[in-house]
């Protein structure tokens, strides 16, 4: 495989398969062959939690192509699926398995968001054998190369995945320092990785696991509680991941301490009418109130000069990346809320807040 990889990635093969590249040919022979792109085959779908009336959580095991460069615990990956064989939709998921190396299998753990095209497909419909598209692992919410003696992990809900990946990596590396693992869940039935965490707690190795359920009377996250659990916690290297309100509480408790590293995922904000909210032009750093006009006009009104062509949606010259928010196609009336989506700004009007790469 080493020689084959070298040949497939050579300049000669690139020249022979120009302009489309060797991957366009390989994918038709065997979807697991790739020289540059990253794809993966789903090898297992395991239900972690299935509380009636609540969205289920599952762990998906992925066998990536040899082009997967591996990941560091805490990183995430963009995963694209072609639901029903057509539109590819891409979402970001955190990797839950320990550090991986080139071509290694890894897992993502996710909740089937009721409005989520990709998460619902993966949890409820994906079967072993399904192919998905991947980015390389991304993100700097990771452990340092020299792992500190004492660490604190704070997570809430499905924010447990990156810190679980870290904990598993530490277990595998037989880290002998003192680890405090603090997790907030709705109820014991909602606890992801409950059995494994129980095993970690019992087997010791210096890992102190606290699974808390405030709705059942457990203490909320507060400076006093943290201080009681980990004295001098503000100076203890801490990784926190969870819903925005929890992250706010953690930030408040740490008071700008450099020991704290956080990661959180913001749910999309939308509003009912088209002329509300703000439009942010990410590349130029300009922000203006949304007037409800197509983004191209709003950008020009804000003094930007984005590239455009026909101004009627046919030539695709003005295609830009919408990072967040909802846009309505003024020709079709169709609304779309996908993050990181390519849109024609001349015929796309923002609905509520919107961030576009102009």
């Amino acid at each position: 495989m080493g020689l084959a990889d070298t040949i497939l990635r050579s300049r000669a093969v690139a020249a022979l398969t120009s302009p489309q590249g060797v991957d366009r040919y390989l994918e038709h022979v065997n979807p697991m062959w790739a020289a540059h792109e990253v794809r993966a085959r789903i090898v297992d779908v395991h239900r972690e939690v299935d509380v009636p009336g609540h969205p289920p959580v599952a762990t998906i095991t992925l066998q990536p192509t040899s082009t997967w460069r591996g990941h560091r615990a805490g990183q995430h990956v963009q995963l694209g699926v072609e639901v029903d064989g057509a539109r590819r939709t891409t979402r970001v998921f955190t990797i839950s398995s320990p550090d991986s190396r080139q071509g290694d299998r890894f897992t993502i753990t996710l909740r089937a968001n009721p409005d989520g095209v990709v998460s619902r497909f993966l949890v409820e419909r994906a079967r072993p054998g399904t192919m998905v598209h991947l980015s390389q692992a991304e993100g700097d919410f990771v452990l340092p190369d020299r792992v500190p003696e004492q660490l604190l992990f704070v997570s809430g809900g499905s924010g447990i995945t990156p810190v679980m990946s870290m904990l598993r990596s530490l277990q595998r590396r037989t880290h002998r320092g003192q680890v405090t693992f603090l997790h907030y869940a709705q109820s014991p039935e909602h606890q992801i990785f409950a059995a494994e965490l129980d095993e970690v707690r019992r087997s010791g190795h210096g890992t102190d696991v606290h699974l808390l359920h405030p709705e059942l009377g457990d203490p909320n996250l507060s400076p006093a509680f943290l201080e009681r659990l980990v004295p001098g916690y503000r100076d203890v290297p801490t990784w926190a991941c969870g819903p925005a309100p929890m992250i706010e509480a953690v930030r408040g408790a740490y008071d700008d301490s450099p020991a704290l590293r956080v990661e959180y995922f913001q749910p999309p904000r939308t509003s009912g009418t088209s002329a509300e909210g703000d439009v942010a032009f990410a590349r130029s750093g300009v922000e203006a109130p949304n007037t409800g006009a197509p983004l191209l006009e709003q950008a020009e009104a804000a003094g930007l000069t984005p590239e455009f062509g026909c101004r009627m949606g046919i030539c695709f010259s003005c295609t830009a990346l919408k990072r967040e928010g909802t846009v309505r196609n003024v020709l079709s009336g169709e609304e779309s809320s996908l993050p990181d989506e390519e849109i024609r700004v001349c015929v796309s009007a923002p609905v509520g807040d919107c961030v576009v790469d102009l």
Binding site: S18, A86, T319
Partner: protein
Amino acid sequence: MSTRTKKMKSNNTTLSDEDLERFGEELDAIRQRVLADLGEQDAAYIRNVVKRRQQFEVAGRLMFYVPPLWPFAVASLSISKILDNMEIGHNVMHGQYDWMGDPGLNSRMYDWDTVCPGEQWKHSHNYIHHTYTNILGKDRDIGYGILRMDEDQPWHPYYLGNPVYATLLMLFFEWGVALHDLEVENIVSGQRSHADNKPLYPGLIRKIRNQTLKDYLLFPALTGPLFPLTLAGNATANLVRNIWAFNIIFCGHFPAGVATFHQDECEDETRGHWYYRQLLGSANITGSPLFHVMSGNLSHQIEHHLFPDLPARRYPEIAVEVREICERYDLPYNTGGLSQQLFSVARKICRMALPGSSKDSGPATATDDVLAA
């Protein structure tokens, strides 16, 4: 036909403003319906065409190792290049499959197997040609800056060579398309400077280098002693593709009965008028389903110009509705067999070599009748 353009100039269209608006709404409705219906079958179709193209290419490249199969190798490679140029390249770069979210079929990523950089073609074709279709002085596809294709283009003795230039453009079509964006004719006339072209050179040179390296050096070299045969075969396949693409495209815009427009009549045009101009500025070619695939469905040039960003495989079904609408509004729908349209184009190329109006040469067309009424 010069009365035609004058008539259009003063009258704008044969339709009333209200008619034009309803006409536009009916076409918009077709567009919405198709957009809402895009899905698995469209995705499967284009992926299948891509796969078939690759199979023809690989088969062609392999058959060059067996000299007696040379004609089949050329045929196979020609089919591959035609599919890549027409049904895949042209249509993917129009953004017809952007909705699939597949980088391999995305208008911003795709580049085709010709010496013209896709990036530059998208400007001259998707934007300039499709926005200003058949507006004299704005649509640079009228005559490609080389030919006289309309009597409203002033005659000059240079145009006596029209048939010769057309033949050369046909044989070297990919090069003509590649150099199109440099707007050499505008440099000659002083409307454009060499400095304007500077940013285009690196991309153009890189693409020309990659294409010639592949077809005229690497693949021939891989067949060892058969180098000259493979080189000739690759050149022939490119030639076949050039001739085919030229003819399909010229049949889509230059047969008798296709209207051209003046800049002033298209100022502040409504959506309905834009559709109307696209309809009158294009012509179809009738043929079998296979013929439509090989022409990238540009045999449905009318439907393509009305809906350039809808997947081309939808044009045959759309055409039925467009024809019905045209009948109701009493608008011409220019279509005919390949030989008929080719003959019509060839005659126009020759006619335009000579000065003056050509109203009395050739049969009156539906368009002429409607517009002269």
